[in-house]
């Protein structure tokens, strides 16, 4: 029942309302960028700002809800064994590779992988916002400085979401050096349909 996302790639998953989506870090230390759109209208899309508005925290874990740009709940976190996730940063892309890794080979990154996976569902690249970056370890200093550190996840750490509307979800195994400590690993996921 578990499916695997190869290193530096992405998939789209159709998730009916009530379905459970479990995202697993099989080896530890890897990130998965997740983006959700309403299956009926992909102009309704995950919003970090609306989520921060209503959840009133940056630390989104068990019980937290992820909200859309239309102020509707898309997903609820129903289980979470991981020490951290991030909802501040946007998916890595050709542009972020040029900026952060000018001496490394270019890669389309999670942005390109999400754009390709979600294109058949009507999601335009320009509409891809900050993703919910599962297992990503972003620290905030008292002066506001952000740092991307290797994830502290252990093999088998997982987060489980319940879909609160019919969704199409894009999921990646992250492609950037900083977010996974320079080791590109797979991500596993599992969908349980509603009864």
């Amino acid at each position: 029942m578990t499916e695997r996302i190869s290193p530096r790639s992405g998939v789209a998953v159709v998730l009916p309302r009530g379905a459970l989506l479990t995202v697993i870090d099989p080896e530890g230390g890897q990130v998965s960028d997740m983006l959700a759109v309403c299956a009926e209208d992909p102009a309704e899309i995950l919003s970090n700002g609306r989520t921060f508005d209503y959840e009133e925290t940056l630390r989104l874990t068990l019980g937290a809800r992820l909200w859309s740009n239309r102020s509707r709940v898309m997903l609820t976190i129903v289980e979470d064994t991981a020490p951290h996730h991030d909802f501040l940063l946007t998916p890595c892309s050709f542009d972020t590779f040029r900026h952060f890794y000018p001496d490394k080979p270019l890669h389309r990154g999670c942005f390109g992988n999400l754009a390709e996976a979600l294109a058949p569902y009507g999601v335009e690249p320009d509409r891809i916002p900050a993703a919910f970056n599962i297992f990503m370890n972003v620290t905030i200093s008292p002066d506001g400085k952000l740092a991307v550190l290797p994830p502290q996840t252990k093999p088998g750490d997982l987060i489980r979401f319940r879909a609160e509307m019919d969704l199409v979800v894009g999921l990646t195994a992250c492609s950037a050096y900083a977010s996974n400590g320079g080791t590109f690993k797979p991500i596993d996921f599992m969908v349980e349909q509603p009864f």
Copy 2:
């Protein structure tokens, strides 16, 4: 040369590349939500996530650049006398009024004001992301909790931006109770054209 935005309203300002936009809190304690789109193609829009990516801080002040969803610099902060701004939260709206102020009269808020001001320039409401919330005082606790406190701006505090591309900018005088301590005040702004 200074123009005034009435309490709880908004305007759109056309800003050629090189122009300076100064936003002033004339009475102190007020917030102005700012959204920028590329004048040539409004699908290119301000992005909090891309800005956090490249500026590597939540504390955006003198010298910081505000980036678009296409990884291009839209605005540079060239002067800033204010103690804080916010780029985490989305503009107040009918939905946020229902959620946070169920006993108060409904208001379309900064979201509705930005949507109306920017509609003639081709900006769809669904594309309105987190605005750059000038003078907004959002605190982050060590556990990630967010709190919206009254701005600590003094009368005359200002922020000045240089446009790094041809832009249309939406600007409001904020409508929400929490962000300005329940006092709805005007916002002043000034545009200086490039030579």
